[in-house]
């Protein structure tokens, strides 16, 4: 079955794809921390920060539509949080943008700040995931000190989530093929519980067979991999460019926009 993978473009070849996963991860982490810590009134500077991940997306030849679609997919969770702002903080405030000025509330300001920061940080995250193979990202995280057990679990999650989605989809198709009338809430709930149970049992079966496959190939509890990560001159240039971009915005552009 074909899946809309989040790492659909991670197998392309571009200067952004060739960068070391550890470097990209650290840069995105620092960038995210800076964007989150921006004051809630800094909309102009927030827009400037969006240029960074946007440039990586362009450099990596990732369609903006793809990035925006994934932002929209995750947005409901953040929308709930953001829209709660106007409900509990109605303190009036005047906002000015060039020659225009209008009255609003602190709650709405907070709402737009959350949404703006969410979009910019998500763009950075999508730029990272779309230009880095998941296996390289895991290897990078392991080199950066993430516990091995956690990277193994993330690896299995990434490997089997698509198998699980396939199975769930097949179960839903089997149900749809035999469901000829509305069964009522209780019966639907019972069916859903049975479907989840079946999925759970099959997942356990898969885990057992995977364990056999691992043991058959000599696995004794110690996880061994070959590292292919290497820091190249391009990675140093990227670090320098990212630092220049962030520091330039912070010390030179931000004072003008406030």
């Amino acid at each position: 079955m074909h899946h809309a993978h989040i790492d659909k473009f991670a197998y392309q070849d571009s200067p952004a794809h060739q960068l070391d996963s550890r470097v990209k991860f650290i840069v995105v982490l620092v960038f995210t921390a800076i964007v989150i810590s921006l004051p809630r009134t800094s909309f102009s500077i927030l827009t400037c920060y969006a240029v960074g991940p946007f440039a990586i997306l362009v450099l990596g030849r990732i369609p903006l539509k793809f990035a925006l679609r994934h932002i929209l997919l995750v947005s409901p969770f953040v929308l709930i949080l953001a829209l709660s702002g106007p409900l509990y903080d109605k303190t009036p405030v005047t906002v000015a943008f060039g020659p225009f000025a209008w009255q609003t509330s602190v709650g709405w300001l907070r709402c737009f700040a959350i949404l703006g920061k969410f979009v910019v940080t998500m763009l950075a995250l999508i730029a990272l995931v779309s230009t880095t193979r998941f296996s390289d990202l895991l290897a990078g995280l392991q080199h950066l000190g993430l516990p091995k057990l956690l990277t193994i679990q993330l690896g299995f999650l990434y490997r089997y989530i698509f198998v699980l989605i396939d199975r769930a989809h097949h179960i839903l198709q089997a149900r749809a093929g035999r469901k000829l009338r509305n069964l009522g809430f209780k019966a639907e709930l019972r069916t859903a519980a049975a479907m989840l149970g079946s999925l759970f049992v099959r997942s356990i079966d898969t885990a057992e067979r995977t364990n056999i496959a691992m043991q058959a190939r000599g696995f004794n509890g110690t996880w061994r991999t070959i590292s292919k990560l290497k820091i190249r001159p391009a990675d140093y240039i990227f670090i320098f460019a990212a630092a220049f971009f962030v520091l330039g915005l912070h010390f030179f552009v931000r004072p003008f926009l406030q």
């Binding site: 296996s135 690896g155 490997r159 995977t210 056999i212 691992m214 043991q215 991999t225």
Partner: protein, 242 residues
């Protein structure tokens, strides 16, 4: 020289008491290609698991002269490679390279040796270009070949395959037959597909209800229409024509 597989009076029951295998006695020489045939539930997969030491019953199981026990496990895993029925169970690493390298790394080989093993195995399986792909990006035929590559990289003397042609189209099945015919190892293939068995095996062991019903020359057994029908099987098209 010890035999590839030697099983004497092996019996195994499931936890609910059902007899899965009963007094199995088999002797397989190195270099033989054996098809384990039989209807669903005959005990073929369980017998393969017993050969790899994953099912422990009564009786004796020797792999390349080594009795299956805790001390010999590592040596047995290196000489007998098991390929499971579903490639999704076999391919569990984020990339094909990592998956094929998993076995050699566990055997304690150096990084350079591992890379060579992986390159050779992928080349044999016709997947050299796919090394950096994630398993879920492979087609069913490629997944099957990749599962075999994960075993080949460990250079085992014996390879067991459980229903290797499951869900393959005719072209991929033909590619799989070509791949398996090109291997020098002892092959033990559990299958319900008589055409696959006829194409690959020189010896057939017919199992039903956990017992060996027939053991001998592949053509001789599979051309016996009455025997095959009695056990819910069919005469392969190739033998039927001739």
């Amino acid at each position: 020289m010890p035999k590839a597989i030697e099983i004497e009076n092996f019996s195994y029951r499931y936890s609910d008491g059902t007899i899965a295998l009963s007094e199995i006695t088999i002797s397989i020489e190195h270099g033989q290609r054996v098809a384990l045939i039989g209807p669903n539930g005959a005990g073929k997969s369980t017998l393969l698991l017993a050969m790899a030491g994953f099912v422990k019953g009564t009786g004796k199981v020797l792999i390349d002269g080594l009795q299956i026990n805790r001390e010999n496990t590592k040596k047995i895993r290196a000489s007998l490679g098991s390929c499971l029925e579903n490639p999704d169970d076999q391919l569990f690493m984020p990339t094909l390279f990592d998956d094929v390298a998993f076995g050699p790394l566990n055997m304690g080989l150096e990084a350079e040796q591992v890379k060579k093993c992986v390159t050779d195995a992928l080349q044999t399986a016709g997947l050299s270009e796919m090394a950096d792909k994630a398993p879920h990006h492979l087609s069913a035929g490629q997944k099957r070949a990749a599962a075999i590559a994960t075993i080949l990289s460990m250079s085992p003397k014996i390879i067991t395959l459980d229903e290797p042609d499951g869900s393959l189209d005719p072209r991929n099945r033909s590619n799989l037959i070509k791949l398996l015919r090109g291997l020098a190892q002892t092959l033990i293939i559990a299958t319900c597909n008589m055409n696959l068995a006829a194409a690959l095996a020189d010896r057939v062991i017919l199992l039903d209800k956990g017992r060996i019903v027939a053991d001998g020359d592949a053509k001789e057994i599979m051309s016996n229409a009455r025997l095959m029908a009695e056990h819910g099987l069919e005469v392969p098209a190739e033998i039927h024509k001739s």
